[in-house]
């Protein structure tokens, strides 16, 4: 009997907690952040180095799962034509700019809106936690953010949900981008591409703080399979090295 009463008390306590959480407006996303993402971050370009820090040759798209249309588009790349048509920023869209050598400046513009500025190409992406950030048809597209705590609907309903993983990632889904380049040498993504990113911060014991962005780009127009990359940045204490520069096709 005593044991049964104990279980009842436990279940009641959990239920009371859940009920308490349901009252009132949800707290603003900024206060729910599992980590501090703000500040200046510098890219460490040591993966795909040749493709990122130098201009790779036309048609060199090793590692990118382009389909036939994608390969055709990459082979037709003409930087002069991009410049003439006002498309010099094609490699600086959301699908490409995070792989550019450069720095990020991440700020909360409101309690539920993040801005990611890049000095490479002087781009700004807005990530909204409520509604949608950005504009359709632009280089940066429309981004929606959410804190991803690694739990699922099933785990939330499971026993002892308090044991769920703490911390979490920033999950950003970006759509409605203007067609651009995955790599500077004209490796394409289309306006149908959907990009899902997970931002994680790792504080290395006795070392740097890293921002790692795990990215999946799904593009039915140009990619055979999703493109996965992970890109890392190191935290800076200030804006040193911040070097806004225009888009460049070459």
């Amino acid at each position: 009997m005593v044991r049964r009463l104990g279980w009842v008390a436990i279940v009641c306590a959990c239920s009371a907690t859940v009920v308490a959480q349901r009252g009132g407006p949800p707290p603003p996303p900024r206060t729910q952040a599992p980590f501090d993402i703000m500040g200046y971050w510098v890219s460490l370009v040591n993966e795909d180095w040749r493709y990122r820090i130098t201009m790779p040759p036309k048609g060199d798209f090793a590692g990118v799962p382009l389909n036939g249309a994608g390969r055709q588009a990459a082979a037709a790349w003409d930087p002069a034509k991009d410049e003439a048509s006002g498309d010099a920023c094609k490699a600086y869209g959301a699908g490409g700019v995070m792989r550019m050598p450069g720095r990020l400046h991440i700020t909360w513009t409101t309690d539920d809106m993040l801005a990611i500025e890049t000095d490479a190409g002087m781009q700004t992406r807005t990530i909204a936690f409520r509604g949608a950030g950005g504009e359709a048809g632009t280089w940066q597209g429309v981004s929606v953010g959410a804190w991803d705590r690694g739990d699922t609907a099933m785990s939330r309903g499971g026993f002892f949900p308090g044991a769920a993983v703490r911390g979490g990632s920033l999950r950003v889904v970006t759509t409605k981008m203007r067609a651009g380049y995955l790599r500077k040498n004209g490796v394409p993504y289309s306006s149908d591409a959907v990009m899902t990113e997970y931002f994680d911060r790792f504080d290395v014991p006795g070392g740097d703080s890293l921002l790692v962005i795990s990215t999946e780009i799904v593009d039915p127009t140009y990619l055979m399979t999703p493109l996965w990359t992970s890109t890392h940045f190191k935290k800076q204490s200030d804006a040193s090295g911040w070097n806004p520069r225009s888009c460049s096709s070459r």
Binding site: V2, L5, G6, A9, C12, A13, C14, T17, V18, T31, Q32, P34, F35, D36, V42, L44, V45, E47, D48, W49, R50, I53, T54, P56, P57, G63, P65, P101, A120, D148, R149, G150, F160, G162, A163, A164, V165, R166, S169, R171, Y198, D200, R201, F202, V204, P205, G207, D208, L210, V212, S214, E216, T225, W228, T229, S230, H232, K234, G241, N243
Partner: protein
Amino acid sequence: MMTKPICILGAIGVALMCADLGGQTPASVATAGFDLSGYWTSPLVEDALERGAGPELADYGGFPINEAARLFALSYDASRVTLRHHQCDGYVAPYSVRSIGNARAWEERDSHTQRLIAIHWYNQTFEGHRVIWMDGRPHPPAYAPHTWMGFSTGRFVGNALEVQTSHLKQGWLRRNGLPESDQATVVEFFVRHGDHLTHTSVINDPVYLIEPEVRTTDFFRQPADHQNWLFNCDDGEQILGRAPDSVPNYRFGANPFVKEFGDKYRLPAAAYLGGPETAYPEFESRIASLTDADARAKLRPTTVDVTSRAIDSEPHDGEIHVWALRDNVYLLLGDGGNIVVQTGDEGALVVDSGSGRLADKVVAAIRRLSEKPIQFIANTNFRADHTGGNAVLRAAGSDPSVSGTFFALQFADAGVGATISAHQNVQTRMVASGRPAAGNPSDTFLEERRRTFHNNDAIEMFWEPQAVTDGDSIVHFRRADVIVTGDVFTTTRYPVIDLQSGGSVEGEIRALNDILNRTVYRHQEEGGTIVVPGHGYVCDEHEVVEYRDMVVIVRDRVRTMINSGATLEQVKAARVTADYDPRYGAASGPWTTSMFVEAVYRDLSKRK
């Protein structure tokens, strides 16, 4: 009745557990874990060519390497993998994660408590099996063996599994010769987003890196077991008739492939030869202005002396530390040179006796391992840090195999004290240097081998003529398969080739090859025969191979310069050891880099 209050307290506790604490979780706070189990495959997107077909020669762009790493890599000739002892080299843990193939992870839990003991991560390539200990155990001492996978401990922090790894073997940052030293440590973060796993590694290498090397690698979850988990490798003869002291390498500035990558992609060589600056955005705008002179400056050593940045594996705490090697064979550290003890019913057999400063503690440590007296002491050389404890250890033992023989009729003290064995030249040099007679070997041999069967093991002493001295021996416990090398091999410094005591660089290379002729690895050039160096941590053949390569390569460089008419000062100025100095170099102390180079030079000069 206390039951109800206990229930209420329990309910409060659970309520706290149930509550969504929200907000930021401090990164340092360990948290509940997540499931890493399953089959994982890394898509070959990033660095696709490097990870698949293999990296381009001399492409080190983005690596925060120092001069020594660059010179090591430029000296590397890929033909080196045709050498028997390199054919099955595995990958070190951080490189293994970047390899092609599949991976599998699983949990190991205590069957009684269900607590998580370890997470296992198995890479198909080279069968790299990592054990990430989750039970809070400490990392082993600095004198413990190094492995391809290293020793890893983990904890869940935030939404990540944080792993810290030490005790790695020397391996590759990139398999075009770019080295990662055995002093490297790694911090890793595994984070899972549904069926997408991101692995981040941060390599710190005091020997070869200026800044930490950060890598991120993606994996996706596989629903099925592909069943091909093995990666067989067995070495064999690839080039017949090659001299045993041949290690393919390029002299500084003579690598013929430096420009190949640049020619192919229209890049100046100075752009891709690595260095921390090449990973930062600013470098992009500098590439166009880099010149051939900038490249040439990266192909040869500067004139700055560099000293070893390796961790000292000696405890230096005034105590004797014991490390179980295999079966009844143990390593004792703390008193100069390494001491090895074999125990058994017939009494202890001890190889070397340390400096003697802590001899009483050595005796006490041996007595804790065996109640039987010390019967034999074998000396690998005459130096004081290996023979200084002879007298005390001898006095603490006895040799019953002598006391009951004819010797006892002639010598009243026959069998009183342990018998000390060594090559005759050890005795000769100890006598000549006026060392107390009580510590000198009495049982000596003149030719290549001394053997005995003791404590159910066949034990052989092999004379290594003209290695670091003229009296070096290695001792092989055949059943336990432990080789004690004396100063022929250490992990702490360049070989102390003592020309005045009969040492030579060619003899040293022969001795290192002689060790390698007796070792057998267990798997992928790892494990199997245990090799105990004269100083430093417990090894297997891989460390001996790397050391042998180093001695051969330095010899080749010095010999080439001698043949070109270079003086000793010119050889020293050329810094022929530049790629190894952060690992073995010394600017002061009893054996400096300068002394090593001079010994090699003088030895080769007189043989010219």
